[in-house]
């Protein structure tokens, strides 16, 4: 069976580049799953969880908006504004961000533009937090160099 050639890039880095069996991503119209030989498509991605499956392996990545482009030759490209693997998410920081945004939305009198920005950032941090929590039971992040050889 043919595979999807998948690339997930942000302005800062390439987050994931792999051959996949399927890919689920949150779009404006809801979660879509892309299988090989999908027709060419361009869609807007909303903040949420992107799941990339390759055989048994599953990558769960938090994205905060962007685009997905499906090219004719089984190439799928996600241009994300920001993206993190679930094990990279700093739960504490995300929680703080959620609180900050909630407080700001309640207390301050804001212009419509400001409100939209805070609401968007709240949505982003909430989705990051959900993804981190969902995977917290298997938080077996790949070993980083530090602390591996230390007791």
């Amino acid at each position: 069976m043919n595979k999807i050639h998948f690339q997930l890039v942000t302005p800062e880095r390439t987050v994931l580049e792999e051959e996949l069996d399927s890919l689920s991503c949150p779009t404006e119209l809801g979660q879509i799953t892309i299988l090989p030989s999908h027709v060419p498509l361009v869609a807007t991605i909303t903040p949420g969880e992107l799941i990339a499956r390759a055989g048994e392996k599953e990558h769960s990545i938090a994205v905060s908006g962007g685009f997905v482009e499906i090219r004719p030759n089984n190439q799928v490209i996600v241009l994300a504004d920001a993206a993190e693997h679930y094990y990279e998410i700093d739960t504490k920081r995300a929680e703080e961000a959620v609180k900050r945004a909630q407080v700001a939305m309640k207390e301050k009198a804001m212009s419509a533009e400001e409100y939209a920005r805070v609401a968007a950032s709240l949505q982003q941090s909430l989705s990051r937090l959900n993804i981190a929590r969902k995977h917290s039971h298997r938080r077996t992040a790949p070993l980083s160099g530090e602390g591996v050889f230390k007791e």
């Binding site: 690339q7 890039v9 942000t10 302005p11 800062e12 880095r13 390439t14 779009t27 404006e28 119209l29 879509i32 027709v39 060419p40 498509l41 361009v42 869609a43 807007t44 685009f67 482009e69 090219r71 004719p72 490209i77 241009l79």
Partner: protein, 320 residues
């Protein structure tokens, strides 16, 4: 032949200069590594984004025209309908072939000591001005470009401060907004970016990139090649979700931002690399000069001692 004292002061002053250039070399070497890293990492994003827009540019218009055909058939001729629709769907896809002006965004450095980087860059701008019969408006970013425009009495549309810290995508928003706004007024035929492309630590080249209307870069060979497949793909129908208008209105500004962001990163990496190399050369040249002068100094000193000795000996012989 300079005297011993003059030589001594010269050596001292060159040593001082060498200290300064070495310090600058080390500073820019550190900055260079960071800037190069950022540039190379974000290149994938901007290349892919650019490919996407090339694939879409032609196709978007066609699919939109089709959509309208179904809606109402009795509007004027094809040409007019397509034009109005394109504007409706995405202003930024509109072209203004009859406009009288072009705008150039110039990304220069703030400080000198970067060899020919700015000179080459501004030479490129000069060439564009000479080749075109249209009126040219400048948007500058960086002190050197601004100063040059003021000296040359060019028309500056806007001047953006170039930050000495590393930039974030958010810093681009005002520039991108200005570019979009001036293009949407319909007075500009095209908007170009002139920047230094980072090739390697030792070489940077000034490049001209056409930002709007979306087209291939003027001097970029790689883009020229990728244009061919892009043409074929215009025939493949892209689906849009939720609809072309929503996607394009979201996508196009983002692509402009990413292109400006990338070119600024490229300029930054070029600047730091050029400065590092220049300062390294200067430090080495100072070292050469010092050893040369020290040799002359020692020779002179030895000469003096020999003469003095000869005089003393001669005096002694005379006394005997």
């Amino acid at each position: 032949m300079p005297g011993i004292k003059e030589l001594k002061t010269r050596i001292k002053s060159i040593q001082g200069t060498r200290k300064v250039t070495r310090a600058m070399q080390l500073v820019s070497a550190a900055k260079m590594r960071k800037a190069q890293d950022a540039t190379l990492k974000s290149r994938t994003y901007s290349t892919l984004a650019w490919e996407l827009i090339l694939n879409l540019a032609g196709q978007a218009n066609a699919s939109v025209a089709e959509g309208l055909e179904a809606a109402d058939d009795n509007i004027l001729n094809e040409e007019d309908r397509r034009h109005s629709l394109m504007e409706q769907v995405a202003q930024l896809l509109t072209t203004f072939p009859d406009a009288k002006k072009i705008a150039i965004l110039i990304l220069s450095t703030n400080r000198g000591m970067v060899g020919g980087l700015n000179t080459n860059l501004l030479g490129e701008v000069e060439k564009i001005c000479k080749d075109t019969s249209l009126e040219v408006d400048m948007i500058t970013c960086g002190r050197k470009a601004r100063e040059w425009m003021v000296r040359g009495h060019k028309q500056i549309l806007a001047d953006f401060e170039k930050f000495d810290r590393s930039i974030t995508p958010q810093d681009i928003f005002p520039i991108a907004k200005l570019v979009r706004d001036i293009y949407n007024t319909g007075q500009y035929q095209k908007v170009l970016i002139v920047y230094n492309h980072f090739v390697s630590t030792l070489s940077q080249e000034p490049r001209v990139k056409q930002l709007l209307p979306f087209g291939r870069s003027l001097t970029d060979d790689r883009d020229a090649k990728s244009k061919q497949p892009a043409k074929d793909e215009q025939l493949t129908d892209y689906l849009f979700e939720p609809d072309p208008q929503a996607v394009l209105n979201h996508l196009l500004p983002r692509i402009i931002e990413s292109q400006i962001y990338q070119t600024i990163l490229e300029s930054e990496a070029s600047e730091q690399s050029a400065r590092m190399v220049m300062m390294k050369n200067a430090t080495e040249a100072a070292g050469d000069l010092i050893s040369d002068l020290t040799l002359t100094f020692n020779k002179l000193r030895q000469n003096k001692i020999t003469t003095e000795l000869a005089e003393i000996t001669a005096g002694k012989i005379a006394l005997e």
